[in-house]
């Protein structure tokens, strides 16, 4: 592999400079992206008709004096640009605002609910990798076979599957007809669990109640499948195409010529190189996972940030929507940045770009 080749001493400063420049460029892109997201998060929710105060008081309405007073108290009487600057100013001090519905800090609400979303997303990506990688490799190795065509057909279907419909279908089949899995929620209501870590699989082990872990795991099965379906399809297709590209390379032919076994050639030589684009794909799936979590959490009554965000939009809870979108965007930006950096580190073409 390229990483094992020592760089020529004369080229080393140039190499470091290129990697540094690569890192700086990537970091530099984060700042405008972040501010772009603040603009979108702030103005998008305000485009939806409905005054947050009127939605808080319901159909009975509110007298104009009180309405004006509350608008002033929440700061919505100021011009939009002033509100936006206030929002960004508070953000820079780490203040994501306070929900106008629950009156709790947005960050604290987000952090309370986020472990549920992480748990679900993590399981979904593990599920997608556990199936997507081997299936993609096999499809590439058996290119043109019935298996290949079938897998690629199914993955295309999986990729195009509407999450809402897919979730309901699985619930009706596995919970309603077969009775194998629970319908929704994170754990059976029979278990009284106060959040310790917020991750139900871990908390159910910590409380030491027989059956709690099993119940938590069973509740994860269907949401994991639903949320993991699109990433699974993407990973399987990406792995297949990356593997096909690598399998045609000279060094693979050389490895065959050297008499190495197929398992060693595929597992060691081909897969390591094919994984580079797959890692990027996994990083890009973070956004897909968080977007999918909004629908999956709603179907499965999963108390995560997706569900919370949908409710906040319905209630025109501006601070929660702004803060929630921004926090999710920050996570996606950070993961993509990390993937970019990891890609820079593991991809010899970037790592050694300074030598060419």
């Amino acid at each position: 592999m390229g990483g094992d080749i020592p760089a020529h001493p004369a080229l080393r400063p140039l190499h470091r400079l290129t990697v540094f420049r690569f890192f700086i460029t990537r970091f530099g892109m984060v700042v405008p992206t972040f501010f772009g997201v603040t603009v979108v998060a702030f103005f998008l929710i305000r485009l939806i008709p409905g005054d947050p105060i009127e939605l808080l008081v319901g159909e009975r309405g509110i007298d104009p004096e009180r309405h004006a007073y509350l608008l002033k108290e929440f700061g919505y009487d100021r011009p939009l640009w002033q509100q936006y600057l206030g929002f960004v100013g508070n953000l820079l001090q780490g203040d994501f605002g306070t929900s106008i519905v629950s009156r709790e800090p947005v960050l604290s609400e987000f952090l309370t609910l986020f472990p549920a979303t992480i748990e679900l997303s993590f399981m979904a990506i593990v599920f997608a990798l556990a199936i997507g990688l081997p299936v993609g490799i096999l499809a590439a190795v058996r290119r043109g076979s019935v298996f290949d065509h079938t897998v690629m057909g199914i993955s295309l279907t999986g990729y195009s599957m509407p999450i809402f419909w897919w979730g309901l279908l699985l619930i009706i089949l596995f919970s309603g007809i077969l009775g194998w899995t629970p319908v929704s929620g994170r754990i059976s209501v029979l278990y009284y669990i106060e959040p310790i870590t917020g991750f139900m699989l871990i908390d159910s082990l910590l409380i030491d109640e027989p059956g709690a872990f099993k119940s938590a795991f069973r509740h994860l099965i269907l949401p994991t499948i639903v949320l993991g379906t699109i990433p699974l399809a993407v990973i399987a297709r990406q792995t297949r195409s990356a593997m096909l590209e690598v399998l045609g390379e000279d060094y693979i032919r050389t490895a065959h010529a050297k008499g190495l076994g197929p398992a060693r050639i595929i597992g060691l030589h081909a897969l390591r190189n094919a994984l580079i684009p797959v890692i990027t794909t996994i990083g890009l799936q973070t956004g897909v996972l968080l977007a999918g979590a909004i629908l999956t959490e709603t179907i499965f009554s999963w108390p995560g940030v997706g569900n919370w965000l949908v409710n906040s939009i319905y209630r025109r809870d501006y601070p929660s929507v702004q803060g929630g979108i921004l926090l999710i965007a920050c996570i996606v930006i950070t993961v993509n940045l990390l993937v970019d950096l990891a890609y820079g580190l593991i991809n010899p073409r970037i790592r050694h770009a300074g030598r060419s």
Binding site: E59, L168, I172, S184, G185, I299
Partner: protein, 530 residues
């Protein structure tokens, strides 16, 4: 003792203290949304009321189940002064509050709790007034700040309400969720600890169930209040699981993950009817979908024209096509359940020929009208546009041309309040079982002046009858007054009632004694499991 041990001990006692170690009864209710807040004073949402006031709190007075009679609750008795400006309530003694993990009350219910519960909403200088946003949708929406002068404690067991002007509907108003009684001692303790918002998030009341856990967007857990003044609830535990999707709620019901579910999808009702494990509790809504004639605009100021237009409308067809089994024909504005004699008057039957003759008699020809349907779908008016289209077709048969004007929700309210419409289609829902309180805001003269009465019809005699009926304590006399008011309405016909909603609550067969409330909502005191 830490709270977990306390809870375990309580569950143990509930389980084994009874006869022959009865089985612990846990009812799971699949609700559709998470409560925004757990203080009924601060919300208007059914989800908040179901989770707080209907399980955790009591009010001073209540309705006798199945009737519109007001009976004692936390107030044992009351007296109203001659001028109707002073209400004196005697509180029930020794009513215990719940116990929370972070607060143990030192005393039972006292007058200062009632004072706190109302003065927080009334007095802008009250230390709790602005806590959790200070939005009191019902208290303000009903105009109580302009009616109630003060709420004071005469002694530990007596509360005095002083009014600025007579308000005969006060007792009915005090049955509402926002009038729940909270603990002043708890509020003081939380204020002293610098966490007053906890009063609104971790409720403490005197009600049949005490909340022990709330996981946002996931579940709310209650245990029966062992010292409840009406006797401990038959259920030991009550769990609300928040399940936003109606199809998922039905699957949970079938899968025995829920015993009772909220708000089913109408598409699932036929399957539920055939499901041998499920019972559907049917409830006719205390609401009305209706059409208001703008009586300020000629020729709609002529009762004969209004009657002719009403006679041309095939309301049965609207029921069938628009409500699709989820509506019941309405013959009066007042919901049927509010007529204790059951002899509610009826409307003229559908008769296009008679309508045409009546129009001719009134000298009307070539009439053109604008129909303004409400753009917001409600159970009592699920599709106002479609209703308007059917009315337009019916009127065309008697030679009346009409145009449908669609607007945004906000524009609809604003424009109809200033009388831009000829006729408007929308609805109204009862908050209490008080008929005056139901009719005055949509048909009274005062409401005509401020635009809430979209017919702009003002009949002083009608107003006087409603006012007298609300004041009188003699049921028979009251009934006569309401019937007289109804006959005025029938003669004048400023509005045409169309339908009331029908709602269903599906539950598993093992649930017994569940009674739907005519005003909506879910109450689990008295409910049991077989």
């Amino acid at each position: 003792m830490n709270f977990r041990r306390y809870l375990t001990a309580m569950l143990f006692c509930l389980t084994f203290a009874g006869e022959a170690a009865a089985q612990v009864k846990t009812l799971v209710f699949c609700s559709e949304e998470s409560p925004d807040i757990l203080n009924p004073q601060l919300s208007f949402r059914q989800a908040a009321f179901d989770a707080s006031s209907r399980q955790v709190h009591d009010r001073l007075v209540a309705y006798e189940p199945g009737t519109a009679e007001i009976v004692p609750s936390l107030a044992e008795s009351w007296q109203i002064s001659e001028d109707g400006l002073r209400y004196e309530f005697r509180l029930r003694p020794n009513v215990p509050f719940h116990k929370l993990r972070h607060f143990t009350p030192s005393r039972p219910l006292a007058a200062e709790d009632v004072v706190f519960s109302f003065m927080r909403q009334l007095d802008p200088k009250h230390p709790y007034h602005e806590v959790s946003g200070g939005i009191y949708p019902y208290f303000r929406g009903l105009g109580l700040p302009k009616i109630i002068k003060s709420v004071t404690a005469e002694d530990a067991g007596t509360v005095i309400f002083e009014l600025k002007s007579p308000y005969p509907a006060l007792l009915s108003t005090l049955t509402l969720d926002f009038a729940s009684i909270l603990s002043a001692e708890y509020a003081d303790a939380m204020l002293a600890a610098g966490t007053p918002e906890r009063v609104d998030r971790e409720p403490l009341g005197t009600g049949p169930f005490q909340m022990i856990q709330h996981q946002r967007d996931a579940l709310i857990r209650y245990v029966a209040h062992p010292g409840y003044w009406r006797g401990k609830a038959p259920l030991d535990n009550l769990v609300f699981t928040i399940t936003p999707d109606a199809t998922v709620r039905y699957q949970k019901l079938r899968d025995r993950e829920c015993h009772v579910v909220a708000n089913p999808d109408p598409a699932d009702l036929p399957a539920m009817t055939l499901d041998g494990d499920v019972t559907l509790v049917r409830q006719v809504g205390m609401d009305i979908g209706y059409m208001a004639f703008n009586t300020r605009k000629p020729p709609l100021n002529d009762p004969r024209v209004r009657k002719a237009l009403a006679m041309a409308i095939d309301r049965e067809a609207i029921l069938k096509d628009v409500y699709q089994g989820l509506g019941r024909p309405a013959t009066t504005m007042v919901p049927q359940g509010l007529w204790s004699r059951g002899g509610a008057p009826s409307l003229p039957p559908t008769d296009p020929d008679g309508a045409r003759r009546l129009l001719e008699k009134a000298g009307i020809s070539g009439l053109e009208l604008e129909i303004w349907p409400s753009p917001v779908a409600r159970p009592y008016m699920p599709d106002a546009r479609r209703t308007a289209e059917m009315i337009r077709d019916d009127w065309l048969k008697i030679g009346v041309e009409s145009k449908i004007v669609m607007t945004s929700g906000r524009d609809f309210i604003k424009q109809t309040m200033v009388g831009r419409h000829d006729v408007a289609l929308f609805g109204w829902i009862a908050e209490t079982l008080d008929r005056s309180l139901f009719l005055s805001p949509i048909l009274g003269c005062e409401a005509a002046a401020d635009g809430a009465n979209r017919s702009f019809w003002c009949n002083r005699n009608f107003d006087r009858l409603l006012e007298e009926a609300a004041r009188t304590s003699n049921p028979s006399e009251r009934e006569t007054l309401y019937e007289l008011a109804q006959s005025v309405l029938d003669d004048e016909l400023p509005v045409l009632p169309i339908a009331r909603s029908i709602s269903f609550t599906p539950m598993r067969n093992e649930v017994v004694n569940y009674r739907g409330s005519p005003l909506g909502g879910h109450y689990f005191y008295g409910v049991d499991l077989k």
